[in-house]
């Protein structure tokens, strides 16, 4: 079965790397995967979409994802500028980086919350003044994508080296444990 995920992030938050880490995790488990960056030039600070396809069979299509099964939103602010209903299929989920578990979810979409920025700040994962939320987000997304946390941790260790790999892997592990369904619909 083909699962299509869209990652909405601000350029510089590591949405593309998150897609790659999750694709690597899936491939190590024998699946097929495709990680597609936002097509275009560098866009630090502006909204970017990255795509992730996972499947049991080889993936042939190469176009962008118009409607996703899973939407990962790397910053709460993004909800103010996009209509998530337009980006999601029927049987759908959002994973949202927010410190506010009481977020008023008016979208009618099943929404999982994770304080990825808080996890990153606690681990001192900061670059150019921004908390590095992408690895925590991969941990939070792993459950919805049926990926083991071990495979995600291994993919992170293939992507980074040394101390950086350890800290990022830790962020993913914490997020995997702490991701929660938002109760307020």
């Amino acid at each position: 079965m083909l699962t299509e995920t869209m990652i909405l992030s601000f350029g510089g938050q590591g949405g593309v790397t998150a897609a790659r880490i999750l694709a690597l995790a899936a491939v190590s488990g024998g699946k097929y995967a495709q990680a597609i960056p936002h097509f275009g030039a560098e866009r630090r600070g502006s909204l970017v979409r990255s795509y992730l396809r996972l499947s049991d069979k080889p993936i042939r299509r190469h176009s962008s994802i118009k409607k996703a099964d899973l939407l990962a939103v790397f910053a709460e602010k993004i909800l103010r500028i996009v209509d998530v209903n337009e980006l999601l299929r029927d049987n759908r989920q959002i994973i949202l980086n927010t410190k506010n578990e009481d977020i008023k979810n008016k979208t009618g979409v099943k929404c999982y919350c994770i304080d990825a920025a808080g996890i990153a700040l606690n681990l001192n994962l900061v670059a150019a003044g921004w908390p590095i939320v992408n690895t925590a987000m991969t941990g939070a997304m792993a459950r919805s994508l049926n990926l083991s946390i071990d495979s995600v941790v291994n993919a992170i260790k293939q992507t980074f080296s040394g101390k950086l790999a350890e800290v990022n892997a830790k962020a993913a592990e914490i997020a995997y444990r702490e991701v929660r369904l938002c109760e307020t619909f």
Binding site: R20, A23, L24, V27, Y32, A33, Q34, A35, I36, P37, F39, G40, A41, P58, I59, R60, R61, H62, S63, S64, K66
Partner: protein, 378 residues
């Protein structure tokens, strides 16, 4: 080894495993990360090659022209405006009958400035005397690069690997990466019609009698004709060693019993195959003939495989004052076709588009030349 690679990194790995000795390139999006990766490999001494930094694409191709006639396996890569800037050298290399491989990551020609895929840039090489191939996925881009060295060196003609900007160049997919040992066993030592050596000087490309040019072009045409069999043979032999065969000049997909045949090339062929599977479930007998090579052109295969089928050619390019370039080419082989022009300037065309497009074609609701999607061009 089963791994995850972008199209650009896969091509860089193929160049490394093919033991290229000289790489020269000038960066241009979306090709840049191919040569960036190769530069890194040279720096880390993972590949025994010289990387020549140049001030333009014209010089990039001129540099590998020189290294290739001197007898070294050589590689360069470019896109769009870079290809146009080196266009003069494209012809020098072709007429010098020099084997080398170039990757062209297809990118729209501006203005307006645009870095996304269409196929116009690659197809400007049409008449020059290069063998021109086009990949559907990252694995095929890898495979064509390795095969390109062998085909180019056997035919005495330069070889280009085309692949779509971003859809392949920057998309990470599963790739089966062979070992160095396996590639060494498959890819013979470099051979070429002649080489320039200090002890045995020859002149290349100087002025000569007109008959000299005429004979040269005729010989190239004959060699290009022979390359058809070579491409098919190399595809088979590659399949024996690595387990992947694509069909040679063309790939057939659910074509045999099809009433409707779609002819296209590049990364979006995968989307079209998914659409074909869906339409087959709705009892529409549609199939695909995918052009893997544009030069040499597979007239014989087209005539045989498309006989008695309704043919739709989908172009990601257009020849002003006429029709899509593949449309022109396919009509020259089989006559009447319908031609859709889509995805120009990188406009995203996916599975749903193809499903609707092929259905409309079967229902005879497409014009002879149809710009897709219709509502964009009202």
């Amino acid at each position: 080894m089963r791994t995850l690679l972008t199209g650009n990194y896969a091509v860089a790995e193929a160049v490394k495993l093919s033991r290229a000795r000289v790489i020269a390139a000038y960066p241009i999006t979306p090709q840049t990360t191919i040569v960036e990766k190769l530069a890194e490999m040279v720096e880390k001494k993972e590949i025994d090659a010289e990387f020549i930094r140049v001030e333009s694409e014209h010089s990039a191709l001129a540099a590998v022209y020189g290294s290739a006639v001197a007898g070294l396996r050589s590689f360069t890569a470019t896109s769009s405006h870079g290809l146009l800037y080196m266009y003069e050298m494209v012809w020098w290399v072709a007429n010098a009958r020099v084997p080398l491989v170039m990757a062209v990551v297809t990118r729209t020609i501006g203005p307006p400035w645009n870095i996304h895929t269409d196929h116009t840039d690659l197809l400007t090489m049409r008449d020059s005397g290069w063998i021109i191939s086009m990949a559907e996925n990252v694995q095929e881009a890898f495979d064509l690069t390795v095969q390109g060295f062998r085909i180019s060196e056997e035919a005495g003609l330069p070889f280009t690997v085309g692949m779509d900007a971003f859809q392949l160049s920057h998309t990470a997919e599963v790739v089966d990466l062979p070992s160095q040992q396996d590639v060494d066993a498959w890819l013979p030592e470099r051979r070429q019609p002649y080489r320039i050596e200090p002890e045995d000087p020859v002149t290349v490309g100087c002025i000569g009698p007109n008959e000299y040019t005429a004979k040269l072009r005729c010989n190239m045409a004959r060699e290009m004709e022979k390359a058809k069999e070579l491409v098919n043979r190399v595809d088979e032999e590659f399949g024996k060693s690595f387990g992947r065969r694509y069909g040679g000049l063309v790939e057939e997909y659910r074509l045999e019993d099809a009433d409707y045949a779609v002819v296209m090339t590049g990364a979006w062929s995968g989307d079209a195959k998914d659409a074909i599977d869906m339409l087959r479930k709705e009892k529409l007998r549609v199939g695909m003939l995918r052009l893997r090579y544009f030069r040499p052109f597979p007239q014989k295969e087209l005539r045989k495989l498309l006989e008695e089928k309704e043919v739709l050619v989908v172009d990601r390019d257009f020849s002003m004052g006429h029709m899509g370039i593949l449309g022109i080419e396919v009509s020259s082989a089989i006559g009447d076709i319908t031609n859709v022009i889509a995805g120009i300037g990188g406009v995203d065309v996916g599975v749903d588009d193809f499903k609707m497009m092929f259905r409309k074609f079967a229902d005879k609701k497409l014009r002879k030349i149809e710009w897709w999607p219709e509502e964009m061009f009202l």
